[in-house]
Symmetry: C2
Subunit: 217 residues, 2 copies
């Protein structure tokens, strides 16, 4: 069985957890407490020199890292249900949306960045909170601008089937809410999020439903 | 013919330029001067609401964005020479390496971040330079740790054929050098960079060989 190292709040682990659920792939998840610094333990760094989650072990002992790479791997090895459309141009649109969130905005607010801002730039809590809210909002604003009014947008980011783009959007929206960002101002995104939330595979994967999450939020 | 909007210094445009050259795909590149803020002009934002390069127009008028998405599109539509290996596990390793640089580190040092650090956090030139050097170095340190001693590493990031990972590594190393980062301390990376530089398709795509680049650096 697939063994994943994750964390309840990790956006990247959340993306992979949703994909595993959607494709009906059984997995076990071991939580690495990022708040307690467990990602820096020598045993974990030996697995993942970047000291981040997720890391995912296949049955043969192969270890995969980087959530977007894992999503592509799952798509190639478990193509049904598809999380990418069929045509290259449509796949490019889905991947571009995914990257706006997972590459251009999510890495800006992760623990190592927040730590650097505090320790090296002397940023106080308010300044760090403003940073986090700014970059979450930017990613959602750009996503809304890309999708609103685009006929390629449907019930989900691309048409009426959930895709890798939606997984990245969901992880970004849940993170934004967790940090107190106002996400009510993005109507296209909110409609898509509601459609994602209606899926059991997504709902079960939500950060606040994982072991270690705060009981209420 | 493919029309690309790029910029001489853009790491993301450099990745796409190398891929187009390697695959022998003819293209025209229009330079968007990021230093002059041309990416914020209404005409360009209408093309790319994120106000970044590259954007790439296909013959039928379709506009693609996000360099990693464009690389996947080129791979799907022009599979020879391949820039991804054949097996899903190998493809996952290549994509994970690519994402360490293109997703987790490059977005930390782009113009919009440097501007925010200056305008909102009051970071002076030295503080911003330290930020830039730190994140470039981190990405290269992690890449070196992932690749050194791994039998999957060869003349290039994965085996003896250039891949998407190498394009992302090249763009990160050229950027690091441009910002004065000491890249001499990563022997595995330096050997790979030398093998990439020996390829005409890579050499012709180098940032400093593009229109608008400083005559000497």
């Amino acid at each position: 069985m697939i063994k994943m190292y994750g964390f309840w709040r990790s956006a990247a682990a959340f993306r992979v957890r949703m994909a595993l659920n959607l494709k009906g792939i059984a997995f076990e998840e071991t939580m690495i407490n990022l708040d307690a610094g467990e990602q820096h333990a020598p045993d974990y760094v030996a697995i993942n020199p970047q000291a981040v989650v997720p890391s995912m072990y296949l049955d043969d002992g192969t270890c995969l890292t980087q959530s977007l790479s894992i999503l592509e791997y799952l798509e190639e090895t478990h193509p049904t249900p598809a999380l990418l459309p069929a045509s290259p141009v449509e796949r490019a649109r889905v991947r571009a949306l995914a990257l706006i969130w997972a590459a251009d905005h999510h890495p800006l607010i992760v623990p190592r960045i927040r730590t650097y801002l505090r320790d090296k730039l002397g940023a106080d809590d308010d300044t760090r909170s403003a940073w986090i809210k700014h970059w979450f909002s930017e990613g959602l604003r750009i996503g809304e601008a890309r999708m609103a009014g685009d006929p390629a947008t449907g019930k989900f980011c691309h048409g009426d089937a959930i895709s890798i783009a939606d997984l990245c959007l969901m992880s970004q929206v849940m993170g934004a809410k967790g940090f107190g960002v106002d996400v009510s101002v993005y109507p296209t995104i909110n409609a898509i999020v509601a459609n994602c939330m209606a899926l059991d595979a997504v709902s079960r994967a939500l950060p606040l439903k994982q072991p270690g999450a705060p009981a209420s939020h």
